[in-house]
């Protein structure tokens, strides 16, 4: 029996993504019809009951976010969908955008109705040109058929969705940076407070949710929050899209119930199906580049916000990058560090300079010139970045380093003795 529970990805691959008829025939838009007959407070109550935790990575309770915006009385309000899926190893939002775009549109439309908003924005990263085209096409189709635009389904509710392109900046996944980018500016994050619910897009009250979060809304409205909640665990209702990638036989997106173990996700035939080329697992990098790495010993941990947190891990974006034993810890961390140097927006010093310094110190380990004091310096820098950085990017940039120092400290020490167990570092100037 399949361990997958397909709630939000059920239609993916089974309908033509550009056909609204297919979507409606497969049960689409019944939730919007139902929602249009409900009042906003009742819909928010269902979202609260659903125990849906924001699927972008921060896992903030979606119902709470909606309630906070609902209490704010200013007009107009904007609905924004964060489709800036930039976490390396994450391609779950792409699946929904490309294969079931109307589900995302329906979720955003219900949100628009709840807050009496007239404008929704979906910000899709520039690297996803294909997804942008599919989404633009779907929005036009929905307008033509009365599911978007003026007087939706014959009601007084009018709502439009604008598809906006990013231009290559990981930091735009941060919600306030994303709003700046929609406004045509560089995507540097804003200081908070004020919160986006009060002063968001064009300084108006704004709701920002992830693609996967919006995709959950039609199910919640149709089946009730309780039913959605029961699919998950105490710490989160519903299902989760996870992505396996890296050194794993089956690289793909899977919709799974919370509570499944990480071992199942990596080794089960239905999911990752193990490590190729007869290699052994070294570690898994979970939740994106800003997440932690963990070794084999933690594989029986369950996919659950609470249980992962107790082990210092987080679901994050749902990425599981599997790394086999042919790789060197230092070499991998250099790759992570280069990523953050490239993606740091440069606004605050701890992130801009900290990532550079971390890279320089890691290079000493790759060279075989590192000394014990360098380990302490890295830990001190990491703490400084975590506490002193302006936004989540800098605050989490050293999560992978911290976890590797915790679980693979002996490999750092081996490098001080010019020994690289994977044979990747040649100690004549770094990595081969």
């Amino acid at each position: 029996m399949s361990k997958q529970v397909k709630i939000i990805s059920a239609r993916c691959g089974n309908i033509r993504p550009d056909s609204i008829e297919d979507y409606v025939n497969a049960g689409g838009y019944t939730s919007l019809e139902k929602a249009l007959k409900m009042n906003s407070a009742d819909i928010i109550e269902e979202v609260k009951k659903s125990n849906l935790m924001g699927r972008g990575g921060a896992a903030y309770p979606t119902g709470k976010k909606w309630e906070q915006l609902f209490r704010i009385k200013n007009d107009p309000k904007y609905i924004v969908c964060n489709a800036d899926e930039g976490e390396p190893g994450t391609f779950k939002d792409q699946l929904l955008l490309n294969q079931d775009p109307f589900e995302v549109i329906e979720g955003m439309t219900i949100a628009g109705f709840v807050f009496n908003s007239h404008d929704g924005y979906i910000y899709i990263r520039g690297e996803y040109g294909v997804s942008q085209k599919i989404m633009k096409n779907a929005v036009e189709t929905a307008k033509r058929t009365g599911y978007l635009g003026n007087n939706i389904l014959g009601t007084n509710f009018s709502y439009d969705i604008h598809v906006v392109s990013g231009a290559g900046a990981y930091v735009c996944g941060e919600n306030s940076a994303l709003l700046n980018s929609i406004e045509g500016k560089p995507g540097r994050p804003r200081i908070k407070p004020p919160h986006l619910a009060e002063f968001g897009l064009f300084l108006k009250p704004t709701l920002v949710n992830n693609v996967e979060s919006y995709a959950c809304i039609p199910y919640i409205v149709e089946n009730g929050g309780d039913k959605f909640s029961k699919l998950g665990t105490e710490s989160s209702g519903g299902t989760k899209l996870v992505c396996t990638s890296g050194n794993v036989n089956n690289k793909d997106v899977f919709e799974v119930p919370f509570g499944i173990t990480l071992r199942e996700l990596i080794y089960d035939k239905e999911f990752g199906n193990g490590i190729p080329n007869g290699r052994k697992l070294k570690m898994v990098h979970i939740g994106g580049q800003s997440g932690s790495c963990f070794p084999e010993e933690l594989l029986d941990t369950k996919l659950c916000y609470k249980e992962l947190k107790s082990k210092g891990l987080s679901v994050g974006s749902g990425a599981l990058v599997v790394i086999d034993d042919s790789h060197c810890i230092i070499d991998y961390l250099l790759c992570v560090s280069e990523f953050f140097i490239q993606e740091s927006c440069g606004k605050c010093t701890p992130c801009r300079e900290g990532n550079q310094q971390i890279h320089a110190l890691l290079s000493k380990f790759a060279d075989g010139t590192a000394v014990n004091e360098d380990l302490n310096t890295m830990m001190r820098l990491s703490k400084l970045m975590k506490t002193g950085s302006f936004c989540g990017l800098g605050q989490t940039a050293t999560a992978a380093l911290d976890s590797c120092l915790k679980y693979f400290r002996n490999e750092f020490e081996e490098h001080m003795d010019k020994k690289c167990r994977a044979g990747v570092c040649d100690f004549k100037g770094g990595v081969k």
């Binding site: 520039g126 690297e127 231009a167 793909d252 490239q342």
Partner: protein, 164 residues
């Protein structure tokens, strides 16, 4: 310096977006694509600043902040290799070498005929087929020597004539 008549397309794009400063990123993306050399020139930036009634420094703020923009001419086709974690552990370093050999240029350079530029990109969400790369909106995965040669030849022979 190109004459202003040659840059008429820039004005058309600006008009399409109602001369709205909040559409600056969309305008720059389109101007870059229409340039044929995948870049936004100083002349274009000047026109955009004037038409949107914003300082040219604001235009360059976006141009230099976002990774997808270039202020220097690039090849007709920009080959963007992913070096993010998922591709990295699937030997994207080797793919870089294969491209450098096949094109006779180094990472970041453009071929003499102006056809290809080789550069890195952020993760393109093609982890399912890593190591991966993209040219325009087209994504290519599971790259090896044979596949790379085939892809390059298809562009050289003009079998794929558009980025989209």
């Amino acid at each position: 310096m190109p004459n202003l008549h040659e840059l008429e397309y820039v004005n058309d794009i600006i008009k399409k977006y109602n001369q709205s400063p909040k559409e600056l990123i969309a305008i720059l993306l389109e101007v870059q694509e229409a340039s044929g050399k995948n870049y936004v020139s100083e002349e274009c930036a000047d026109i955009i600043a004037k038409e949107l009634n914003i300082p040219v420094s604001v235009v360059f703020d976006d141009l230099t902040f976002y990774a997808m923009f270039s202020t220097k001419p690039r090849g007709k086709y920009v080959i963007e290799l992913c070096k993010s974690a998922a591709c990295y552990v699937n030997d994207s370093k080797k793919v870089v070498k294969l491209f450098e050999e096949a094109l006779g240029i180094k990472m970041g350079q453009t071929t003499e005929d102006g056809l290809f530029t080789l550069q890195y990109t952020e993760c393109i969400g093609a982890c399912k087929v890593s190591p991966a790369m993209k040219i325009g909106d087209r994504v290519y995965g599971n790259l090896d020597k044979q596949k790379i040669d085939d892809i390059l030849n298809s562009y050289r022979e003009g079998l794929i004539c558009q980025n989209k």
